[in-house]
Symmetry: C2
Subunit: 93 residues, 2 copies
């Protein structure tokens, strides 16, 4: 039983980190090719994606698959990475 | 082990159905008190909520907690209920 629980927990963290990586990648591609960070479309895409991930994390917390603190850290890490990316992009212009 | 797996699956379905119910309730309150279904704010709230739920369902499917077909049915049921609600609200006006 404990093993099975561990498996779902491990999986949950892997899937959530995959999604965080996917958002970062999406924003990178957008910055490199399409829109400027000041563009409302960029903000909207980012907001939607962050909202989607926060809902997934909230769902995982409610199922007891991850700790609330762990979920919060995951979002904060992504936010920091996005902020670094944003700064780099601003400096390039 | 099988029992533990069953527990997470049952929980996942319960949590997802709770969220579907919450969306329906939110839209009901909005229709009764605040905005007309034609209002863009209403559409936006609904779109955001449906997107959030679809992300939770997608996450549960990827973890193997629910079947893809089950997730699809859950969304379709909610869409039908929202559509009925919308029609009732239109007839009242």
């Amino acid at each position: 039983m404990a093993e099975e629980k561990m498996n779902h927990r491990d999986e949950a963290v892997i899937v959530l980190k995959e999604d965080a990586k996917r958002i970062l990648q999406l924003i990178k591609v957008q910055m490199d090719n399409l829109t400027l960070p000041q563009c409302p479309a960029y903000e909207e895409v980012l907001d939607t994606q962050m909202y989607g991930l926060s809902r997934e994390i909230n769902f995982a917390v409610r199922l007891g698959l991850i700790e609330q603190e762990e979920g919060k850290k995951l979002l904060q890490t992504l936010e920091k990475e996005l902020s670094t990316l944003h700064e780099l992009s601003m400096n390039k212009q």
